[in-house]
Symmetry: C2
């Protein structure tokens, strides 16, 4: 058995530096309210370094009554390059404002139950992507000391700031585009991967909305992300009579387009195909894939909203519409 080293405490640092524990706390927390000589400060820092003393964020936040921790539930679904870039930018921006971003693995927890688990960590702000958090969850978080709760999702939740990410708009774009290209029997792919309904349902609704009152029809096409499922779907295509498809995103579009081509279906002559996300890979297929380009909010703007809300926790909740959607037409539609 290896001996586990004891955790050095601020009392150890005080002893080595020959000062009081209060002085250690003042120096290491950079308190400016108390005058402490440069020499003493140096002695405390040296003792802390020598002992390998690390302040306890939890103890510090207990004393201060709040932390600098911004908590985000970690997404339980595979994230694409777009979201990944947004998250990076957000972390940088919050880091510059001296916040610590913590992603909480909330797999298996939902809605207000998840909010209680988050509240236990006493974050100063909570960013919640997707739907599911209710007004009660927001209240739990605020009672436990969160100064700001920001939802990134389809709708507003009482008491929380909202970045409205309107995935209806993505489908609306795609539907309107296919209609304008003369298509009237339009399929919409519903991806089989669990967890994507949050995005796929509003995208479908957007297509329906774009085509309401026209002579076009909308057909739902459930599809697993496998070559076999795509091949099966393609084999039944001609019987379906569909002349266009909005394939949820570029990956599903590429999968389905290949299966259709293998069945001898001509793209776009027989069937127009459009995806979403504007992946580089979509430009590598022939014909090149048309797509809905999605613009996420800037990480910098969101970081500033968080900071504003933390400084003025009593302010009115802000509501911003942040999702931009526009069609990039290439050769497949």
């Amino acid at each position: 058995m290896v001996q586990i080293p004891n955790t050095p405490t601020s009392a150890d640092v005080a002893r080595l530096a020959g000062v009081s524990r209060a002085t250690v706390s003042y120096v290491l927390n950079n308190t400016s309210a108390v005058r402490i000589s440069e020499a003493t400060r140096r002695r405390v820092h040296e003792a802390a370094r020598e002992l390998g003393y690390v302040p306890h964020a939890a103890a510090r936040s207990l004393r201060a009554g709040h932390s600098r921790m911004v908590l985000m539930p970690a997404p339980a679904i595979p994230v694409g390059p777009l979201y990944s870039r947004f998250l990076n930018e957000l972390q940088w921006a919050l880091g510059r404002l001296d916040y610590t971003v913590v992603q909480y693995g909330s797999v298996g927890l939902e809605g207000d139950e998840a909010a209680r688990a988050w509240a236990e960590l006493r974050p100063v702000a909570v960013l919640v992507p997707g739907a599911g958090l209710g007004p009660q969850g927001v209240a739990v978080l605020k009672r436990s000391g969160a100064r700001a709760v920001v939802t990134l999702g389809p709708g507003r939740v009482e008491g929380a700031h909202a970045l409205l990410m309107d995935h209806d708009a993505v489908g609306h774009c795609a539907g309107a585009h296919l209609y304008a290209r003369g298509r009237r029997r339009i399929g919409v792919v519903l991806p089989g991967e669990p967890g994507l309904e949050v995005y796929s349902r509003p995208r479908l609704a957007g297509v329906r909305e774009a085509l309401r009152g026209t002579d076009a029809t909308v057909t739902e096409l459930p599809l697993a992300y496998t070559e076999e499922a795509a091949a099966e779907r393609a084999a039944r295509w001609t019987a379906s009579g569909l002349d266009a498809v909005f394939a949820y995103n570029d990956e599903y579009a590429m999968l389905l387009m290949r299966a259709l081509q293998d069945e001898g279906v001509r793209i776009p002559e027989d069937v127009a195909v459009i995806g979403a996300d504007d992946l580089v890979l979509g430009r590598l297929l022939r014909p090149r894939l048309s797509t809905v380009h999605i613009e996420l909010p800037s990480g910098q703007d969101l970081a500033e909203l968080v900071d504003r809300a933390v400084r003025d926790p009593g302010g009115e909740p802000e509501v911003h519409t942040v999702l931009g959607a526009s069609v990039i037409r290439r050769e497949s539609s």
Copy 2:
């Protein structure tokens, strides 16, 4: 200005339930050492619910001397579907063992400096993907109470458990495969995205290793992930005389293969192409993309290692080689 609700404390719960604070703490922490009647327990739970009281994880871990928090630095590079699935599985498995997984945004922090920031959160275990953490960082984490530090990377770090992820093996596979296919002038793509050197350098070294002592040559091909960069690289291809390329991963392989085809280079007759990651999309191109299939460790196994290490913090560090690599030959090589 909206009134911010006061955070209810355990004293409020005690008052409403008509019991002592100690009793509240015993009940809500499920302490079995103290006998408390069912009726009292119910009264405490009801009061807690009524007030919306949420225990403070930090206070609890201060009392207990440790937390159930498993900390992982959040990756600063876009993660692929493979890693994303592994992370999900790991979170589920740790959740079932009653651990909380927290991903810490450590963008901008490196090595032992990052370790100090992680230590402030007093995790009971820390999982560190990639290289960068040194023995000093491990010591800082252990002194601050972490019972287990597990690295997921190329080598061992003193004092830490190691899941060895040998990316040399990925390159070695690819190099040996291309050689066996009769290729002798082999290019290796070095991706331009920052942060990927951790993987691309050992993959390159693996190719060199596989071809050492043969008549084959290895040429480094830096490449940005844009169509323009790929087109430029393709335009200079014939002059380079290369007859094969290991393209780092499937995405770079698809990008480069398309650019080469657009230049009239025949795949695989003129140039054999192999990627890595075994993405579904690689099977959609024509010719179908050959690839190195990578097997990550199982999240379940890693969760069990963490639990074992937390229970026996003085045990010898475990070392496991976890990365599997094998060639899947399709039509491009």
